[in-house]
Point group: C2
Chain length 265, copies 2
């Protein structure tokens, strides 16, 4: 995952992170959205005034990110005793290419009980790896599909249901952290492909991630596989959304995510 270099503007609360897109994460045009999301979150994670770990994170893809350099402005708009609210803007030149907000918090032990159990699934080792080529970022993830794989034939014979479920991890494997988990939340191919078995120009315009994992859960997940699933909800007038969940191999719910995509026709 590409790193970002910080150039502080004195002691003000607004610092600028500088970074570059990374060709190993290239998509059809510009970088994979998940890596842009991770870089935006990373500007918060690396900010010297950050309080706690991420709980909620929304990123809006405002324009195509060009290959090359960028700056990210992450500003703590409000800092409370145990929570902090961030406003994020990614810039290329004078142009805003992404916006976002994040909530970080000092989390404390409480009652807990995730309501969504991990679906029953064969072990990752027992599921065939799907190798998809064409753009670089697909090779940055090892994907083993349980159901809802990309249509075999683009014949317009879509399904009524767009549920996908897969084992997935970084390739090369690396220990999970908040930034890589945010990137993994964008790993799902567009739900509309399953519904329509037809390709149309499209792109994610907004994604939200809720982190249910803290540092201990990330460490326990390590470099293992995650079970990831997503399912479409509403499709119409050029936009559709999906809702998704990611569990560790041990069955711990690590993150829930939702996103809305634009599509052309």
């Amino acid at each position: 995952m590409p790193s970002t270099r910080r150039s502080r503007c004195s002691r003000t609360t607004t610092a600028l992170s500088r970074g570059r897109t990374s060709l190993p994460y290239a998509n059809f045009i510009g970088p994979y959205g998940g890596i842009t999301a991770a870089q935006c979150l990373n500007a918060v994670l690396q900010h010297p005034q950050r309080l706690g770990d991420p709980v909620a994170f929304t990123v809006n893809f405002a324009a195509a990110v060009a290959d090359g350099g960028f700056a990210i402005r992450a500003r703590p708009a409000r800092t409370n005793r145990s929570t902090q609210h961030w406003i994020i803007e990614m810039l290329q030149g004078e142009e805003v290419v992404a916006t976002g907000t994040a909530l970080t918090a000092l989390r404390r032990p409480t009652w807990g009980g995730h309501e969504l159990p991990m679906p029953e699934a064969p072990r990752p080792q027992d599921v065939a790896r799907v190798t998809r080529r064409g753009v670089a970022w697909l090779e940055r993830y090892e994907m083993r599909f349980l159901l809802g794989m990309i249509p075999r034939d683009w014949d317009g014979q879509g399904a009524s249901d767009s549920l996908s479920r897969l084992w997935v991890r970084d390739d090369p494997p690396r220990p999970l952290d908040f930034a890589s988990l945010a990137a993994l939340c964008d790993v799902f191919f567009p739900r509309i492909w399953l519904r329509r078995a037809r390709q149309t120009p499209l792109g994610t315009v907004s994604m939200t991630v809720y982190f249910h994992a803290g540092a201990a859960q990330l460490q326990a997940a390590g470099a293992g596989y995650l079970l990831a699933q997503a399912r479409g909800q509403g499709f119409g007038s050029g936009y559709f959304d999906h809702t998704g969940q990611l569990w560790s191999e041990q069955g711990e719910l690590l993150a829930t995510t939702h996103q809305v995509m634009y599509y052309k026709e």
Copy 2:
């Protein structure tokens, strides 16, 4: 619903909306979160430079909103040919009390096909109205519960499932618009009450709404009931989330929503 008064700062792209909290929407402390969300969205809707209708909207509740006046700064961070990305801040004095982002867009007819059908339900008129008192905002919504009502006894005997489903509309009835739909997305009582049958201090910290309805669907929904449902996902270390959907009485999916709440113990 309270209105906001605009005071433009010359011809810059940043305009300040001024408004006041509304006692008929009072919650235990300060206003109902849904009305704060609606006011933040309204600052975008009323902005003279707005392009199109809302598609995605995230609001973060950064601090308790005090009863009284506020200002909302809505700024179009990026304007494309048919989409626009907004950054929103609600201020009381010098303090930021809410942040948010919104995507507005000119939507065009495309293939469509919502994947989530409205659950089968008896007609609203055939379901008993539940009258909940205690805080004013509860009286601003007519609620008719189909399942997942607030626990009758706070005996600590919670359920394993937090699905709620209800018919709901504004009281007094009013034609649906984007702001009132955003407010309705926050109408669900905390899912943790169903899981635990135990009260604990809590509050919404972030909510996202995806609008599947355009102006025509809003008009068709009119002042009718909406079928609203929500279900919890992850609960732990002081935060839980839910995912929800709202359909018109005619069965049209109008919005999907997700939120994360803080809870104390």
